[in-house]
């Protein structure tokens, strides 16, 4: 592994991207989206006053950057290796002293850096959010690290698949499918899985009965207990499915901040609470007793839910890292020369 050759290859890739007009158009569109998102979220978080608004806007901007990275990264990385092969640009590099590991790693680094340029465009917007106040530096640090790692994971998946699948168009599509499986597939599996596994819950309730309206003299009486049963989905058995979702990882990994009423300060905490709430199993029996003067229906705050559940982001991140690493390794081994087998229909040059 030679750092000079690696860097030469990374620069070669980046130079070609930077010199295309399409690239600037894409960054321009991205900046325009961020302007709109920041303006709207400043308006929508303005109720929170100075302190909360910054945190809210910041989290929205980071989520949008992740969304854009998820949408765009497969096209940046999904044809890295087979696209070069198609253009007859791979073999001339393979006959130099550059090794297969260097070529594949350089492709990955270039795709990663390209994806990160979206995050760089977002820096001014993050600064705007930070200036509006209320952003915890630790939240900034952790969310940025997770964002950078997620962009790396998608880049690695794309580059790996571009080495495995012969046709560039097809490998971009497969990359999209893998990313979609993580982003959309996990909530679908979660919803369907939870709905498929159901348990019975018994509801018991009683209320006051009033004999005659307007009388006001007779003592209100309690009604007999009314009991019903129904089936509820058991999301607590499938909540772990969501842990491989990039957005869940981002929200779950970032330290949650709540206000003094236990309400989430930003989108990270809100999203993490919603997702983590799925871990709590439903009660077997639910009682509603209006006649008991001490009866208080349980309404845990977001903070309470958050604190009584377990974080799962590291599991999801580990799964993603293993997947990305394995695909990258597989793609690399398919690119090794002198090659023994060729993907069907490929020309090596």
């Amino acid at each position: 592994m030679s750092a000079t050759r690696l860097w030469t290859l990374v620069r070669l890739d980046l130079t070609q991207r930077v010199r295309s007009v399409a690239w600037y158009v894409m960054l321009g569109v991205f900046a325009a989206i961020l302007v709109a998102v920041t303006a709207l979220s400043l308006l929508s978080f303005s109720y929170a006053g100075g302190a909360g608004a910054g945190a809210g806007v910041y989290s929205v901007v980071v989520f949008v950057v992740l969304l854009l990275a998820v949408l765009v990264s497969p096209t940046l990385s999904g044809n890295a290796i087979n696209g070069d092969r198609d253009a007859a640009n791979l073999a001339p590099v393979q006959v130099t002293l550059a090794t297969t590991a260097e070529i594949v790693l350089a492709k990955f680094l270039a795709a990663w850096l390209t994806g990160l340029s979206f995050a760089v465009i977002a820096v001014p917007f993050m600064l705007v959010a930070a200036v509006s106040g209320g952003v915890d530096p630790l939240v900034v640090l952790v969310s940025l690290v997770v964002l950078i790692v997620e962009i790396a994971i998608i880049a690695a998946i794309g580059v790996g698949l571009s080495g495995i699948v012969a046709r560039p168009l097809f490998s971009v599509a497969v990359t999209y499918l893998v990313v979609a499986a993580l982003v959309i597939g996990t909530p679908i599996a979660f919803t369907l899985g939870g709905a498929a596994i159901r348990t019975e819950v018994t509801y018991s309730s009683r209320d006051y009965m009033y004999d005659a309206p307007g009388d006001g003299t007779s003592e209100p009486e309690c009604s007999p207990w009314y009991t019903s049963t129904s089936q509820v989905p058991r999301f607590d058995t499938v909540w772990w499915l969501l842990s491989a979702n990039p957005f869940v990882i981002l929200a779950d990994a970032t330290p949650a901040r709540f206000d003094r009423y236990g309400n989430p300060d930003d989108l990270f905490a809100g999203f993490a609470t919603t997702v983590r709430g799925a871990q709590i199993p439903p009660e077997d029996t639910v009682t509603w007793d209006a006649c008991d003067p001490n009866f208080q229906p349980e309404q845990p705050t977001s903070e309470e839910i958050y604190n009584q559940t377990t974080p799962s982001w590291f599991v999801g991140l580990a799964v993603q890292l293993v997947l990305a690493g394995a695909l990258l390794w597989w793609g690399g081994s398919r690119t090794r020369t002198p090659s023994r087998t060729l993907p069907p229909g490929t020309r090596i040059a």
Binding site: S2, T4, R5, T8, L9, L12, T15, Q16, R19, S20, D84, A87, A88, N89, L90, A91, P92, V93, Q94, V95, T96, L97, A98, T99, T337, P338, S339, R340, L342, P344, R347, I348, A349
Partner: protein, 318 residues
Amino acid sequence: MDAATDPPGAVAAGIVATGLRRSFGRVEAVRDVSLHARAGAVTGLVGPNGSGKTTLFLMLASLLTPDAGTIRIGDVDPIEQPHAARALLGWMPDSLGTWGALSARETLIVTGRLHDLPKDAAQARADELLELVDLTQLAKAPARVLSRGQKQRLGLARALVHDPRVLLLDEPASGLDPAARVELRHLLRRFAAEGRTVLVSSHVLAELEEVIDDAVFLLEGSSVDSGAAIAARRTRDWRIRLLGQPTDAAASVAAALEWPADAVRVDRSDVLIPLATDEDAAGALRRLVERGIPVTEFAPAVGDLEQTFLDLRGGEGA
């Protein structure tokens, strides 16, 4: 060449391949190829489309593993030690990609850097090569605006960046204009004179003939010994042109040779006669001159290489 002044890596490195075989699925691209390309000589690889030339080049260039057989570039096995082989090899592929956004000069610098040349050396080498392949004027133009011939020249320069001892050139002349072809021939001769091994394939056999020292014939994935190829040669046509190109040239040639009139063919205003050997040709010429036929030209209708090639194909078809 003076061995004492050469850098240590510059030992003569020929190519020896024996019994190479490679198939892709059911398609046997290369069946049985053995060849020896000497250092200090230009060896031509001749074969029809689909005869396995490009697959052979890929194996020699350390990109493809043969199913069977061995390759030595000097004393390096490109399959076992691809890294060492790549330092020796300069390969110019038949389908040539260019980094469209990079200029010709940048392309050569990047290639040099990938061959571990220091930055300054890579830049100097790029300028030197641009001069060599006559692209200095276009050094700063992005590669996507280059014409096919210019890209071809850039591809040659790219194969030369690391001053390789062995050159594998797959159709280097395609797309070149006549002046550039002449230039290429001079270059190939110069490389051979410098002690390099040059293996070159081309469809333009007449041109190849002027530059090569040895020839390897490839037919349906198998190499044919060029000695056997020449022995396989049957009759070949000789072209005769008479003074003033008279309309009855065929008749007068047939009469002078005492051949039946239909044994002599007419091609435009020239006469073609089939002869088996060079001795027959000398005899026929002597006879024509003795009979007072005013011969201004008497030459093989097609070059040696082309004739051998056509004979081999014809032999295969029969």
